[in-house]
């Protein structure tokens, strides 16, 4: 009886260990296959030709994705410029000014809205934002502006939610101390609370960035499909993500491998962002 019990517990522990290791296995497999398909082209055509190449015509051995890299960064930056301050303002209001009931109602609502699929955002972007831009500002409507706006709206819940959590975790004593010294509420927020929550807020920005740069479906619908580096806010563009999604279904041979190479570049960018977020934030928190 004794023996059997100990063995059963050992087996269970082993099974659970295998389950836990499965995450590592999946991660490894994903990287392995993406790299196996995507790296060879870097050797054959050269890293420079791909990463810095200006021409994308994969059926004719032109694999340049530089315009797409630039486009990806531009719309991400645009999304942050528009979305981050707005989201931070929203989070600050929720955390510092809103009553308990408002908080209780709005926070879950925000998280609910974060669950709206990206294709819906893209669709509404095409139907409403693109025509408005086309009519009032010119251009095709499919532009950096439209993409940035749509992405900004998409990352609002993410940034708001995490910044809110950060702000809420600043100890009340900080605020009380500042107010006791005669500061107004806004002075307190600006000089005490926001700096205290700085690392969490920055982390939320980086996470928002990660979400924006990895977004595919919404971008496809509002970015247009231009293969050149956009020179104005109203120019259409193609990002790394839309590059992959638009052509994967019918690509073969080198063309397909070029799409995987695009994936490799995207993966590198996003993983770097995540690492920066993790280490930077951790370093600040440790201080």
């Amino acid at each position: 009886m004794n023996r059997k019990l100990i063995d059963k517990e050992r087996v269970i522990k082993l099974i659970l260990l295998v389950f836990a290791l499965s995450s590592l296995l999946f991660l490894f497999t994903i990287f392995a296959f993406i790299l196996t398909e995507g790296l060879p082209l870097f050797y054959e055509a050269g890293v420079k030709a791909i990463v810095f190449g200006m021409r994308w015509a994969p059926t004719k051995a032109a694999f340049g994705i530089f315009p797409m890299i630039i486009s990806s960064f531009m719309v991400t930056f645009g999304a942050l410029v528009v979305g981050a301050p707005l989201a931070l303002a929203c989070a600050t209001y929720l955390s510092e000014y809103a009553g308990k009931r408002t908080k209780l109602f709005l926070k879950p609502s925000l998280e609910l809205l974060a669950g709206i699929p990206s294709v819906v955002y893209g669709f509404l972007g095409v139907v409403y934002i693109v025509p408005i831009i086309r009519e009032h500002l010119g251009g095709a409507g499919f532009s950096i502006l439209s993409t940035s706006l749509v992405l900004a709206i998409m990352i609002l819940p993410t940034i708001t939610s995490i910044s809110f959590d950060s702000l809420m975790s600043v100890p009340p004593a900080y605020r009380e101390g500042s107010l006791a010294m005669g500061a107004t509420k806004w002075q307190t927020i600006r000089r005490v609370v926001l700096p205290a929550a700085r690392s969490g807020i920055l982390a939320s920005f980086i996470l928002g960035m990660g979400r924006a740069i990895g977004e595919t479906m919404a971008v496809i619908m509002v970015a247009g499909n231009a293969l050149k580096i956009p020179t104005s806010l109203l120019d259409p563009l193609r990002t790394l993500t839309s590059n992959i999604a638009l052509e994967l279904a019918y690509a073969t041979g080198d063309h397909r491998r070029a799409l995987f190479s695009t994936g490799v570049v995207l993966l590198v960018i996003i993983m770097s962002l995540n690492l920066v977020a993790n280490f930077w934030v951790k370093a600040r928190v440790a201080k």
Binding site: M1, N2, L5, I6
Partner: protein, 251 residues
Amino acid sequence: MAGTKIRVRDLLVSYGAKEALSGIDLDIYENHVVGLMGPSASGKSSFISVINGMINFEDGARVRGKIRIDGFGELSGRHDHVALRKKVGTVFALPIPLPRSIYENVVFGAKLKGVPRSELNELTEVCLKKACLWDEVKNRLSESALKLSGGQQQRLCLARTLALRPEIILLDEPCSGLDPISTAKIEEALSELKRDHTIILVSNNTKQIARASDFVAFFYMGRLIEFGPTERVFTNPEDKMTDDYIRGKFG
């Protein structure tokens, strides 16, 4: 003289560099209540943890010495923990009911042990009676145990332990924070229970030890200062420290 249920020789317990118990030689007699008294941090709870094997869950805890339990064998660290705890039941200082009904709480351990369903109802009644709780809850066994008062919850914990029919029952300051009536009920239960069980009662309250135990062991700073029949120790202590403690001069 009754047989020895637990024989402890040269027990040493340390947490890292700190010694909690050293050089303990003690015989716990069957079917008696042995009280452990002494100020806090004198090692009483560590002693309990050794007997019920829960000390193995503490990181960095080291146990040396010989502990022999009649009917089980030696506690060696590699013994069968689950089997040990079927023989040694514990009631902790704070009542910790499981977030379930009163009935479910009582039968939890029994079910795991394999007691057939048909016997569970009777077992529940018997155990709750022995814990002096039956009358108060007999009509609401399916209610959540969390609705009971502190004293009732503690008696429930006792009943729950009894359901496993342990040969030894350890109570680690079971009445701390309880009202006098609940305390009295628990002491009343113990005086009945000792007929079928061997009981170790840890308490900071010397009066409770005097009331409820047959033998008493006085612990101080990890050492066993004195051990003997309760009446003798309280009226005629051998060691001056024991005398001081009983008189309330410290602790």
